[in-house]
């Protein structure tokens, strides 16, 4: 059942379950939406994650007790929302970008074509955002593609790089150090500060599909 704990003197942590599942994820997405719609005065930040939501608040405006009572009152809804978006992200898997294909081929025993086909097959679920602005944690990677992170993380991975690390796959939203095996690159901006309406391409609860594009298509899209 929903647990509401003191998390420092300016935040609470809501825990929805010990373990993590797609059902819990749906409840958290629905809860976050209801919470935002309520516009509770005094809430400063909301960070939904795999099994928790962190909520920071201004204790001058709302007390811990008042906030807790309001939070525990919001119903938990298991029904999937109608508004789930499917977002296609074009990825160029050319070896110009996919620097770690060799390592991945050695580890998985698959061909490059098989890896691309397994990577582009699922509709991945965006469980949460974090790490860097706009970065999304995806569920649904085919276990045949599970691969350990690089023994020596790179000091800099470019924005848009697509990789696999452990049981996860995703896109680097800004240039940063990182240890994932890089297999491609998207020309699409995941975080775009110049896009004032929607600076972030993806939100929690979205579904993602990677679509293979050629190097030529990559270059054309990049210039648009």
């Amino acid at each position: 059942m929903l647990k509401c704990e003191v998390y420092g003197d300016s935040a609470v942590l809501l825990t929805f379950s010990e373990g993590f599942s797609e059902e819990i994820h749906t409840i958290i997405v629905n809860y976050t939406r209801s919470l935002k719609e309520k516009k509770i005065e005094g809430i400063v930040a909301i960070i939904p994650a795999f099994t928790t939501i962190t909520i920071s608040y201004d204790a001058h405006i709302i007390s811990f007790k008042e906030l807790k009572a309001l939070l525990l009152h919001i119903p938990l809804e298991e029904k999937k929302g109608q508004l789930t978006r499917l977002i296609e992200i074009p990825v160029c898997y050319d070896t110009e970008f996919g620097k770690d294909f060799e390592e991945l081929i050695l580890h998985t025993g698959l061909t490059k074509e098989e890896i691309i086909s397994l990577h582009t097959a699922p509709e991945y679920l965006v469980y949460m955002l974090g790490f860097t602005p706009g970065f999304f944690y995806l569920g649904g990677l085919d276990e045949k593609l599970f691969c350990p992170r690089k023994a020596n993380p790179r000091m800099r991975i470019e924005e848009g790089a697509v990789g696999i690390g452990g049981q996860q796959t995703g896109v680097y939203s800004v240039a940063s150090p990182g240890g994932w095996q890089i297999i491609g690159k998207t020309p699409v901006k995941i975080f775009d500060k110049t896009n004032l309406e929607t600076p972030f391409k993806v939100q929690q609860g979205d579904r993602i599909k990677f679509v293979e594009i050629s190097l030529e298509e990559y270059k054309n899209l990049k210039h648009d």
């Binding site: 998390y7 003197d9 928790t52 602005p133 800004v174 500060k193």
Partner: protein, 308 residues
């Protein structure tokens, strides 16, 4: 206009933070010592959230190409105009052509400079704060460099203000910060729980606006735990596998997966923001009620001053 002749160690533009995008993985950023930033703005008649310069460890040298009023608060970097010492915590008129420079650091580590009317900049995602990892906010999303020119808004002030003594915080290189036990506190061994409150930790060299890496007795869990990533807040003390705590600060990632042993309380965050590598920290436990009452009283006093 001001021209940066020397950038200092790390001089960035900050306000009180970038709120509303934490669910998209955007850190809050903003001044490490928000009290000092508010006081600096008050000195020159600005509202609290106006853009200020945050200086770190070594101050910049800057030339003023127009006359303005400034306010300097926070760490004492011994500010000078044309080589003559000037007062901190007081509004100061700077004439066109004057050069502002800084001397040796004598307390704290972060100094704030406000300009009457503020700087001519565009907010990005609702804030002036520089978050350099995403090249966001401030001046071109980065720390200032030699040759940068910042345009000033012009606003004359009629009253020279001085921050009352009781608001001028004394910074120490040996700080006790007050904390509440955090979400995973009970997962730590009883010995580590004791160690955390009894032993002294030193702020490591690899410390910055994202977090302070502490060095001292290692802290360990009762048994190994695999945690799922969860949202974190400024002041969270997390402990990675090597047992050395990290205090997460204003540029920290919004989520983390290490066990959280404690949270620094709000009233002590500005003091923490004035600590530097080599400084010593101890942790003391307080209750939620005490923490919130302390913060409430401080903010009420500060608000009263800022209204004047």
């Amino acid at each position: 206009m001001i021209e940066i002749l020397k950038p200092g160690f790390s001089t960035t533009i900050q306000d009180l933070g970038r709120f509303g995008y934490q669910d998209y993985g955007m850190p809050i950023s903003g001044a490490m010592d928000t009290d000092a930033a508010k006081l600096a703005n008050w000195l020159v008649g600005n509202h609290s959230n106006e853009a200020v310069l945050e200086l770190t460890l070594i101050g910049p040298v800057m030339k003023f190409h127009s006359t303005t009023f400034i306010g300097i608060t926070g760490a004492n970097l011994n500010p000078q105009i044309n080589g003559t010492a000037i007062a901190m915590y007081k509004s100061v008129k700077v004439e066109k052509g004057a050069v502002l420079s800084f001397g040796k650091l004598s307390s704290g580590v972060r100094t704030y400079i406000s300009f009457s009317g503020g700087l001519q900049l565009e907010k990005e995602l609702g804030s002036f704060s520089t978050y350099s990892y995403a090249a966001l906010g401030g001046f071109q999303g980065r720390a200032l460099k030699k040759g940068d020119r910042l345009l000033l808004n012009t606003k004359n002030i009629t009253e020279v203000k001085k921050v009352p003594k009781e608001f001028q915080l004394a910074y120490t290189s040996s700080l006790t910060v007050r904390v509440l036990p955090s979400i995973e506190f009970d997962l730590f061994s009883e010995e580590s729980q004791k160690t955390f409150f009894e032993k002294e930790y030193v702020i490591g060299a690899q410390s910055n606006r994202m977090g302070y890496r502490l060095e001292g007795d290692a802290l360990c869990l009762k048994e190994k735990a695999e945690l799922l990533s969860s949202g974190i807040i400024t002041g969270t003390v997390q402990v990675p596998e090597n047992g050395q705590p990290i205090v997460l600060l204003t540029d920290a990632q919004t989520t983390g997966g290490y066990p959280r042993i404690a949270n620094v309380i709000a009233i002590d965050l500005p003091f923490l923001g004035q600590q530097k590598p080599g400084d010593k920290i101890r942790f003391r436990q307080v209750s939620l009620e005490e923490a919130q009452a302390l913060n409430h009283n401080k903010n009420m006093r500060l608000k009263k001053l800022l209204k004047t």
